[in-house]
């Protein structure tokens, strides 16, 4: 009954989404408040049914009900409970159900906390949201239904893949989805504004926090996915410019641009038309990401061709929404009134510059990801566009952006003083120069590129600190005054500083890891010592061990530095005989923010192939994004963001991510 109830709930959610996508539009057309209010109650009910459906699928997985094809194919009664649950979205059908559930969640949040939105705007936004939802409910029910049954259920499920039983893999897809789908809200707002032909002042007040929420999740999701690849794949790599990764990076870049242009729009009512376009593009890129990952067109054109229903369906959704919204944009955008004036050198100008570079960088990633596909379709030539392409295009575009980052917050609105800003950034510049000089001397005149990049990163971090010091009057006023002013600073200012510093931190990590990463690959036997980056790594012993459902070859290493014993590391290679598969469990030793990384290869008569990396400051790569996300959260908690829309009736404060 649970399975069928879940299935029926999904059907009802589709029915409600269809009503929600039409009735409020009619209501807005005829100025009927009751009809417009239908949007709200149906959005909430739709959320209820979508969640019920998802909960039903989770229950089925937990109770190992193999009469459901989805459970049978993707679960196994011997899985630990946590992986039974995460297995729900480890497969195509379940992940799509999660996708629409999150979509319904965001729609429900708008309905629940959108009291302060103009009625017709809310009706339009929820209707657009329901169009997207209807399309995806249909997609799930017709091509990827997770509730299909087997009449005579088998006694055991089929999947117990050890590689997929990993907590990092389990958590990052929902994070990414929260990000991807979160951008649907800004999309719906943009389309609603185009339909109405005018942009309310409340518009930007609403769009920015939603974009911020989505952006925070996407940032964390990408960082988490990258860390998972780093420790689980045994290669020590953390970013591969793989199309699947690019699919999540593109919405992130566009979303970051949107975040910044929404600031201009919110504060100065300028850049309206551009912000709307960005909102549409960001969600389009999210849809594109869903298409690339879900249609199988990336892993194998062949998989796409043998089962084209899914791919073609998503492609249709993609074309309808992107094409439709862009057509609407072309038709209505000119009707939107121009906003405030500003000089090229001003806070607004700096944000435009930021947008310019971010979108261009996004475009290069787009080209690098889709060009091989297009070329293959057109000429049949197969090429691979790998890391070198992106390093040559993406990196140079980020350099000017990074140089500009510290200037932005120091420029005044409308007309800024570049010279003044530069003077105030003097300290940051000096810090950057010192960092560069010291590093260059330390590497004894090696390539100047890496020290330069680090200098740039230091400039960004110090620039963020300068901004704070400037605002609080630190070093100029007594400490007590500075502290008082620091308290008085709006949280969004702190958020900006943290997020910008996060970019610099991540850059330091990236540069250090790629430049001064040392590697030892060789075969070792017990008693052998490998020397790497000053560490001595000795292989003590090799032992076979029996795990709960695997046998593993465990290598025990002792790590010492200058003859002093530091720690032990025990990487292993697991073999799951029942599955006929094996995994490599790398061992990590964290020293500060640097790491030693050992993974094992094949064994042959007493020796074992070993790969040891020393990765200096590698953890900064992920601390940076965490810092950025933290900055985003600070900014989100800024009370001023709530001011624009007057006190919401009754809604509890803590539950207002949107305002």
């Amino acid at each position: 009954m649970i399975a069928e109830a879940g299935h029926y709930a999904l059907v009802l959610a589709l029915g409600l989404a269809l009503i929600q996508s039409t009735v409020p539009m009619l209501g807005a057309r005829w100025h009927d408040a009751a009809l417009m209010n239908v949007a709200r109650s149906t959005a909430l009910a739709q959320l209820l049914f979508a969640l019920a459906s998802f909960a039903a699928l989770v229950t089925l997985h937990v109770t190992s009900d193999f009469s459901v094809v989805n459970v049978f194919e993707n679960s196994h009664s011997l899985k630990p409970l946590i992986y039974k649950i995460t297995g729900v979205w480890g497969n195509h059908e379940g992940s799509m159900l999660l996708w629409v559930s999150i979509l319904a969640l965001f729609g429900g949040l708008v309905a629940a906390f959108g009291n302060n939105l103009p009625l017709s705007l809310r009706a339009h936004v929820l209707a657009v949201q329901a169009w997207i939802a209807s399309a995806f409910y249909l997609f799930i029910l017709i091509t990827s239904n997770p509730f299909l049954r087997i009449a005579n259920p088998p006694i055991e499920g089929r999947d117990l893949n050890p590689v997929l039983q990993d907590i990092g893999l389990a958590v990052h897809p929902p994070m990414l989805y929260l990000g991807y789908v979160g951008f649907s809200i800004s999309f719906s707002f943009a389309v609603a504004a185009l339909i109405e032909g005018r942009i309310d002042a409340a518009w930007a007040r609403w769009v920015r926090p939603w974009t911020l929420v989505a952006w925070i999740f996407l940032t964390l999701g990408i960082a988490m996915g990258s860390y998972w690849a780093y420790y689980e794949l045994g290669w020590g790599g953390w970013w591969f410019w793989d199309p699947v990764e690019n699919a999540s990076l593109m919405p992130w870049l566009a979303g970051t641009a949107l975040l910044h242009s929404a600031v201009v729009m919110e504060k100065r009512n300028a850049l309206k038309v551009w912000t709307i376009l960005l909102a549409i593009l960001t969600f389009s890129l999210s849809l594109l990401g869903t298409f690339l990952v879900r249609s199988g067109v990336l892993t194998s054109v062949h998989a796409f061709a043998t089962d084209p229903t899914r791919g073609v369906f998503i492609l249709l959704i993609l074309c309808t929404f992107i094409g439709g919204s862009l057509t609407l944009y072309a038709w209505r955008a000119s009707a939107l009134k121009q906003g405030g004036l500003f000089a090229p050198i001003s806070r607004e100008g700096a944000l435009v510059l930021n947008n310019l570079f971010l979108t261009t960088a996004c475009a290069t990633v787009f080209i690098g990801t889709l060009y091989p596909l297009a070329l293959e379709v057109l000429t049949g030539d197969k090429i691979s566009v790998g890391a070198p392409f992106f390093n040559l295009t993406f990196a140079p575009l980020f350099v000017p952006l990074m140089i500009a980052v510290p200037f932005g917050p120091l420029l005044a609105w409308k007309r800024g003083d570049l010279l003044g800003a530069a003077q105030r950034l003097m300290a940051a510049g000096i810090a950057a120069l010192i960092a560069f000089a010291v590093l260059w001397a330390w590497t004894r005149g090696g390539s100047a590129l890496a020290p330069l990049a680090i200098g740039l990163a230091v400039f960004v971090i110090a620039g963020a600190l300068c901004d704070l010091a400037e605002r609080t009057g630190l070093f100029r006023a007594p400490v007590a005054t500075a502290v008082r002013r620091a308290r008085g600073l709006p949280r969004s200012t702190w958020g900006t500083a943290f997020a910008h510093a996060g970019v610099g931190v991540a850059l330091i990590g990236i540069v250090c890891e790629t430049t001064w990463n040392s590697e030892y690959i060789g075969s070792m036997k017990a008693g052998d010592v490998a020397k790497i980056a000053g560490y001595e790594v000795e292989l003590d012993s090799l032992a076979q061990r029996q795990g709960p459902n695997f046998r593993e070859m465990v290598a025990q290493f002792t790590v010492s530095l200058d003859g002093r014993r530091l720690s032990e590391m025990t990487p292993s290679k697991r073999n799951y005989p029942a599955r006929g598969s094996s995994t490599t469990e790398a061992a990590l030793l964290t020293r500060g923010v640097s790491q030693l990384y050992i993974s094992l290869g094949d064994t042959a008569d007493g020796t074992i192939a070993v790969r040891i990396y020393h990765k200096p400051l590698v953890l900064l790569i992920w601390f940076g994004p965490v810092l950025m996300a933290f900055g985003g959260m600070l900014s989100l908690s800024d009370r001023r963001l709530r001011v624009g829309a007057p006190k919401p009736a009754r809604a509890p404060r803590g539950l207002q991510p949107a305002e």
Binding site: A5, A9, H31, A34, S41, F147, A151, A578, A645
Partner: protein, 367 residues
């Protein structure tokens, strides 16, 4: 019955969600007033001036800009008078009351399986299902081996059962493990080769052949391996080699060996003059017949296949052939019913079900 009651409740809730706002009269709107936003922007300019984030003259210009918008907004807020469109509201109410339940049921019925209850594993293991004792047993042994993968005896027991169930890939793995933990033996190698052959749909692959050769190297009298090596030769097109291998087997075989008839039949197949026609030969023969005869022949073949499958439903390839045949003959209904039979016949066996579904996908008769 409970299920339908639950469905009814859910539908009622959904309909209620649509009707609720329709029934309410116009409420005083706590509309987000744009004026508030603009006033806040004005206040913010003052703050920015204080923090010297905007120059005084620019601040003045910004105030003017915002002031202009504030006035425009005040104009705007007066313009949309709220109407209530009774006709539209009634239509929507009717759509919600009638359309929603009908659409939901119409969509659900072809997709769902309302008659199937839940089968959580915990309940099923408590009351062992009498219809699938073997599956149950296999699952238990597999679960045991999942935890104790070095139990050689277990693999030994499991492997042949898996092979008989047609789960050749798993059987191959099980034989591999059996060899690893029980030691090498001619019989195990031969069994492994047989499983590999099964996995390849009856083709003795190079890998399978290597296993048979290893088996013969371990024990020159390993019957199964010798038979399959002959089969490999036959499949390579070398019938004389195959024949001589099998003849050698028969020559040294004890007269009461149980496998004698099998080898004799194989031998007869490749060299006897009255060898039963191969499928290819049948087709060739059919070319020369006239339309009616050919149809009769085809129908006869199809019927034979159908009755064979009725008795033994494990042959997935057979089912697929049958379905395909019906479709070629243009008899879609029969194809559909054959499909249903096939699904029932293999429903207990996951691997076959999957093979069946895979095959069906290629036939374009899915669902």
């Amino acid at each position: 019955m409970t299920l339908w009651f639950v469905f009814a409740l859910m539908t009622a809730a959904a309909v209620f969600a649509v009707l609720l706002p329709l029934g309410r009269g116009p409420r005083p709107q706590s509309d987000g007033s744009e004026a508030a936003v603009y006033k806040d922007q004005l206040a913010e300019i003052d703050r920015d001036v204080a923090a010297s984030l905007i120059g005084p003259s620019e601040a003045e210009a910004a105030r003017v800009e915002i002031g202009r918008r504030l006035l425009a907004a005040a104009d705007h807020q007066r313009d949309p008078p709220m109407a209530s469109n009774i006709f539209l509201r009634r239509s929507v109410a009717i759509v919600a009351l009638v359309g929603l339940p009908i659409a939901a049921i119409a969509l659900y019925l072809p997709l769902g399986s309302p008659r199937l209850g839940d089968f959580p594993l915990a309940e099923r293991t408590r009351v062992p299902d009498a219809t699938q004792p073997l599956d149950n047993l296999v699952a238990q042994v597999e679960a045991h081996l999942e935890k104790n993968p070095t139990d050689g005896r277990g693999w030994n027991v499991l492997a042949p059962v898996l092979a008989r169930l047609g789960r050749y890939d798993d059987a191959v793995r099980a034989y591999h493990n059996s060899i690893t933990y029980n030691g090498d033996s001619a019989a195990r190698r031969a069994d492994l080769g047989e499983a590999l052959t099964g996995a390849a749909g009856g083709v003795v692959t190079a890998e399978a052949k290597a296993e048979f050769e290893r088996a013969v190297a371990l024990n020159a009298d390993e019957v199964k391996a010798r038979y399959f090596l002959g089969l490999a030769a036959e499949q390579d097109g070398d019938t004389t080699q195959a024949a001589s291998m099998w003849r050698a087997m028969l020559a040294t075989a004890p007269p009461d060996a149980p496998w004698r008839p099998l080898v004799q039949a194989a031998l007869a197949r490749i060299e006897g003059p009255g060898a039963p026609a191969l499928p290819d030969a049948t087709v060739a023969a059919a070319k020369d017949m006239n339309e009616t005869d050919r149809n009769a022949m085809i129908h006869g073949m199809v019927d034979r296949l159908a009755s064979r499958l009725k008795q033994n439903g494990d042959d997935v390839e057979g089912w697929l052939r049958l379905v395909r045949a019906y479709m070629v003959m243009g008899d879609r209904d029969k194809a559909k019913s054959a499909l249903t039979d096939a699904r029932q016949a293999v429903a207990n066996d996951a691997e076959r079900l999957r093979q069946l579904n895979e095959g069906l996908k290629n036939l374009g008769l899915d669902g």
